[in-house]
């Protein structure tokens, strides 16, 4: 398949990049590693006039600890995150998630953490060639009014399959978006619109600059299921964070389920139900895991492989495993 024609712009600094983005806005797309963008362009899903490459912007590639926060530049290669002792120790869920993105060669050669968070939602009826999408009516995400994944759905049900986003949301991360005239930091959870067509609340002149992970004595885990051990999106995944109290009880919990809805699903109520529970309370873990399955099942449609029934039942497994693993880490 062939890439459609586009103009390639290679700004040397962040300011230059933001200027260009402000000029081209919707006509431009940001090219970091390209592992998601170029594939969509080849399928004819996206025809940007301009690609603004972040290749020269080494200033966006860093991992540092600063006053109780881990800060990661958006263009940081996945391989750097995997190799980082800081991430392995203080943000294990992210480490585990990044190890599962693409394959080792993709992690080293191209893939970036920003790109992983910003990857578009997927659906096996939508992520197809022009030919595949011809001879039938266009779906919501393709500009039409039909959903092939769920009959009579009045909106797009594409699925967010980002490993990184699910892990980061469990870690309670914020992200910083910059534009020529503005810079704002928001909770990653607020970055999602719940609109499958435009899943990210990002202005057309904005660029993802930084990911900020709070470090506050919590532990985390990320678990996922796929068909293969590499080059495969998760069909279901879960990120979990637990902060122990001095009495070895759960002081704070965050459960996030991924690959089941239009965004990673932060299950606030179920998470808080774990507060005050002992770290070895497997019954409470099982209950929370089953509740997570019930809540996320309502969002999922059959559009990323496997059967819907299987994916739903595996939510409970993934959440339970992530909870158990996190508790084990704390106990150790």
């Amino acid at each position: 398949m062939r890439l459609p024609k586009f103009n390639y712009l290679g700004p040397k600094t962040l300011d230059e990049a933001l200027d260009l983005l402000d000029t081209y806005k919707d006509d431009a797309k940001i090219l970091a590693g390209g592992t998601d963008l170029l594939v969509r362009m080849k399928k004819g899903l996206l025809k940007p006039k301009v690609l603004i490459s972040l290749k020269a912007l080494n200033e966006l590639s860093y991992i540092k600890k600063q006053s109780g926060f881990i800060k990661i530049g958006a263009r940081t290669p996945l391989a750097d995150i995997i190799d980082s002792d800081l991430i392995q120790k203080e943000a294990k869920a992210l480490f585990q998630a990044c190890k599962k993105i693409g394959a080792i060669s993709i992690q080293h050669f191209r893939g970036t953490i920003g790109g992983n968070i910003l990857q578009d939602n997927r659906c096996h009826h939508y992520n197809q060639s022009d030919f595949h999408r011809s001879g039938r009516q266009a779906c919501h995400k393709d500009g039409g009014k039909i959903c092939y994944a769920r009959e009579e759905a009045d909106r797009c049900n594409s699925t967010c399959q980002s490993d990184g986003a699910t892990a980061l949301m469990a870690l309670g991360a914020d992200i910083t978006l910059v534009s020529k005239s503005n810079e704002r930091t928001i909770d990653l959870a607020d970055f999602y619109t719940t609109d499958g067509i435009m899943p990210h609340a990002c202005e057309s002149n904005e660029l993802l600059k930084e990911i900020i992970i709070p470090v506050f004595g919590a532990h985390s885990s990320y678990q996922r299921l796929a068909y293969r051990s590499a080059i495969d999106y998760p069909i279901v995944c879960a990120g979990v964070l637990l902060k122990p109290s001095l009495k070895n009880e759960i002081a704070e919990a965050r459960i996030v389920v991924g690959a089941m809805g239009r965004s990673p699903l932060f299950l606030a109520q179920i998470s808080s139900s774990l507060k005050g529970k002992k770290l070895n309370d497997t019954i409470a873990f099982k209950k929370a895991a089953d509740a997570s399955m019930d809540s996320s099942a309502t969002f999922a449609v059959h559009n990323v492989g496997a059967t819907l029934e299987y994916r739903c039942s595996m939510v409970s497994q993934m959440v339970f495993q992530a909870l158990e693993q996190t508790a084990e880490t704390i106990k150790a």
Partner: protein, 758 residues
């Protein structure tokens, strides 16, 4: 140990270096002066009448050199057999699957060609479509092909007689139905073809193929030009697995565009086109009814199989037969009745595939396990009771000469520790066994034999000409090894000219597992004839009888006095100075029953040799997720004789990847209204290197086939079949449920575990 110098040795393949270094050139790499880009306009509908095709806008687009439609084909239809000619090269009346060819375009570049496709206006009238073979047979809507009632394309009926009376004698009878979905080949190289007509109006073509001569003849027929004017050229090929066997519409369309434009044209398939518009493996529903005596010997079997053939016949008669044939070769049966139906549906065309009939074979082996359990004997015992023995005839009257089936069973059992493990493993930990048998060739009439020419060059090196094609399995190396051995040269002294229809003689191709047996044997005979000529000359110089001579390491020497020798190069030069030819030819034609025919007469000698094998698989199943972890695979295969153990082990492991790890655990297609959902390498779950089992035991068993070259026979395809059976049997053993739907994806495994609990 053998007396061979080169044969039987672990020699790295002559072609591997260029391939791993990226230097080998495939069809997509080919650039010819003035070459145009070709593209195919395909049907977006599963079943529709073509009312009108308007190409004027496309023709008017600057850069477009030609547009062809069904009007340009003179209504020629393609089919492998005279009675299966059901596919127009470009459809004129109606389209029968999403991807059917309706037009072709040649343009100066790809962008223009793609634009032109959009400008071709096709008016369709949609027809009701059927996607399920059982529904297709019962369908009251318009037939997919009007000459085929109930959409039944092929019916193969085999009956040895005495089936019903033998069932009456049976101690235990059971009937089970097994289903398997379709699968794809995912050759590393997507299909591509380049074509040009030269100044003498000869058609030159390059494409991945399973036999260049099989491509040349239909092209010569279609263009009504003599066979010598069709020159299929050699080019590196990235996999076939049965999916490159026959001519396909794009071959014709590309050549037609080249003819019309008088320029070379190349068409490269996208990965999606390679998946939907070449071939796929059949999905099938198979019912085995088996009756055994008290000891577990099969007295009678009745098998009925419904295969989803897709939109056209392709190799239908063969594909409808081979799963049965593999069964009747592997196992003895007192009597058997087979009804195989290949049904047309509005889905992509199904052809031959390495793992022929996973629903058929896995079902058969699963049922044997069930019967064994009922009789209180173990899976090994029931297989040994029914396994094929040398000197027997198959149910369809093929004599089986070399056969080491039992040895493969016993060796695999021993190596894997089956006896110690079976029934004694912890919960959700299982071990299973599967067997295979594959035919070394089919009756192919005029194209059943192969001939080779060898010419000596004056520097003492030799050029070998053979019609054998290498799809990636190592055939080129096989020919070089054989020629070097026979001529007494080193592999680097052999220059191979192969798979080119201009310079080589007819050959059956690689898709009937016959390259070594027939093509290799032809080279062996040619080389022996060549050697004989050299020995005659050398005997005069060395003053000994020719019979006392041998050749190795570039020398001809006296067998029991090796010091007495002369370099081959010198013998060649002396021959030429003495007006004596140093070139030779040789051929090999397998003695098969030429009257045997897939549908009308499925009895008689199928081929001269059969291979046999056993695969044992050990797995752990996660009872919470249904995910399978394969711990160890042991494959023992009777290959006759191992010409190159290194290449064979590669074939063994590739087979395990394709038939077992992928074919049984992850690979299947998803569909929506006849549209294939997972056509790409991202979405179709081929196993990766990191998914492969941590331990694979390859056991080469040699039965020295009396007719095979050095005793060799089929060895490349077979393990894919027994691997599928071994995997399914192991998973069934681990979860304590006999699985009847393949592949064994985690959702099915989990559902089976849950159902058992209740």
């Amino acid at each position: 140990m053998s007396d061979y110098t080169i044969i039987g040795k672990r020699m790295p393949r002559v072609d591997s270096r260029a391939k791993v270094m990226g230097k080998a050139k495939f069809t997509a790499d080919l650039k010819l002066p003035g070459m145009l880009v070709g593209k195919i306009k395909r049907s977006p509908y599963a079943h529709a009448k073509i009312l009108n095709i308007n190409t004027s806008k496309a023709m008017a687009l600057p850069g477009v050199k030609a547009v062809v439609t069904g009007k340009d084909t003179e209504g020629i239809k393609w089919g492998v057999f005279a009675y299966t000619r059901d596919q127009e090269f470009i459809q004129t009346q109606k389209v029968r699957y999403i991807g059917d060819e309706v037009a072709g375009v040649a343009a100066v570049d790809e962008e223009t060609a793609i634009k032109a496709l959009d400008l071709i206006e096709v008016t369709y009238e949609e027809l009701p479509a059927v996607f399920d073979p059982m529904a297709a047979m019962a369908s009251q809507t318009e037939l997919i092909h009007e000459d085929f009632p109930d959409n039944i394309n092929i019916h193969v009926n085999i009956d040895t007689g005495h089936v019903d009376e033998n069932f009456k004698k049976a101690h235990y009878i059971r009937e089970d139905t097994f289903v398997a979905s379709e699968e794809s080949y995912f050759q590393a190289e997507p299909y591509a073809i380049a074509a040009r007509f030269d100044h003498e109006d000869c058609l030159e073509v390059w494409m991945p193929n399973g036999g260049p001569h099989m491509k040349a003849k239909p092209l010569s027929n279609a263009f009504k030009i003599p066979l010598h004017k069709v020159k299929v050229r050699k080019i590196a090929i990235g996999g076939a697995f049965g999916g490159r066997s026959e001519i396909c519409p794009v071959d014709y369309i590309c050549a037609l565009l080249a003819k019309k434009t008088k320029q070379p044209v190349k068409i490269e398939f996208t990965r999606e086109e390679n998946t939907i518009a070449t071939r796929q493996g059949h999905s099938m529903i198979t019912t085995h009814k088996t009756g055994v005596d008290k000891d577990g010997r099969v007295l009678a079997r009745e098998t009925t199989c419904y295969m989803d053939g897709g939109a056209y016949s392709s190799t239908g008669p063969i594909a409808t037969s081979v799963p049965f044939l593999s069964m009747e070769q592997a196992y003895r049966m007192g009597s058997v009745r087979y009804n195989g139906y290949r049904i047309y549906t509005n889905k992509p065309i199904r052809g031959m595939i390495r793992t022929h009939g996973r629903g058929f074979a896995c079902g058969l082996d699963t049922q044997l396990d069930m019967i064994a359990e009922n009789l209180g004997i173990d899976p090994v015992e029931i297989r040994l009771k029914n396994s094929r023995q040398s000197g027997e005839y198959t149910s369809t009257k093929s004599y089986v000469d070399s056969c080491a089936m039992d040895e493969t069973i016993l060796k695999a059992v021993e190596k894997s520790g089956f006896k110690e493990k079976w029934g004694k493993l912890p919960p959700f930990h299982g071990i299973g066994i599967g067997t295979n048998s594959v035919q070394t060739g089919f009756p192919m009439g005029i194209r059943g034999g192969s001939q080779s020419f060898i010419k000596f060059n004056e520097d003492g090196e030799a050029t070998v000409m053979s019609g054998v094609v290498d799809n990636g399995q190592g055939n080129d190396n096989m020919l070089v090894q054989i020629a070097a051995e026979e001529l007494g040269l080193l592999p680097e002294d052999i220059h191979l000219v192969s798979a080119d229809t201009e310079t080589t003689s007819s050959d059956p191709g690689s898709y009937s597992q016959v390259s070594t047996f027939v093509g290799g044997q032809a080279v062996k005979n040619a080389a022996a004839n060549c050697r004989e000529k050299l020995f005659k000359v050398a005997s005069k110089i060395l003053k000994v009888a020719p019979e006392t001579l041998a050749a190795a390491n570039r020398m001809i020497f006296v067998k029991n006095d090796p010091e007495k020798s002369i370099p081959i190069r010198k013998v060649v030069r002396i021959s030429l100075l003495n007006f004596t030819s140093v070139n030779a030819e040789g051929g090999y034609w397998p003695r098969v029953d030429m009257k045997r025919e897939w549908v009308s007469n499925p009895y008689g000698q199928m081929c001269e040799a059969f291979s046999f094998g056993t695969t044992i698989v050990e797995v752990k199943v996660d009872p919470d997720t249904g995910q399978v972890e394969v711990m160890e695979v042991t494959a023992a295969q009777d290959v006759g004789y191992a010409l190159n153990p290194l290449v064979l082990e590669g074939q063994f492991e590739g087979s395990i990847a394709m038939g077992g790890q992928g074919g049984m655990l992850t690979e299947y297609h998803e569909w929506k209204d006849g549209r294939c959902i997972n056509t790409t390498m991202l979405d179709y779950k081929l196993p990766l290197a990191c998914d492969m089992p941590p331990k694979i035991n390859n056991i080469i068993v040699e039965s020295i086939d009396p007719k095979g070259p050095y005793g060799a026979k089929e060895a490349g395809m077979s393990i894919a079949m027994s691997a599928a059976q071994g995997y399914s049997s192991a998973v069934s053993n681990a979860i304590g449920v006999y699985m009847d739907s393949f592949p064994l994806t985690p959702d099915k495994i989990l559902a089976a575990i849950k159902e058992k609990k209740q």
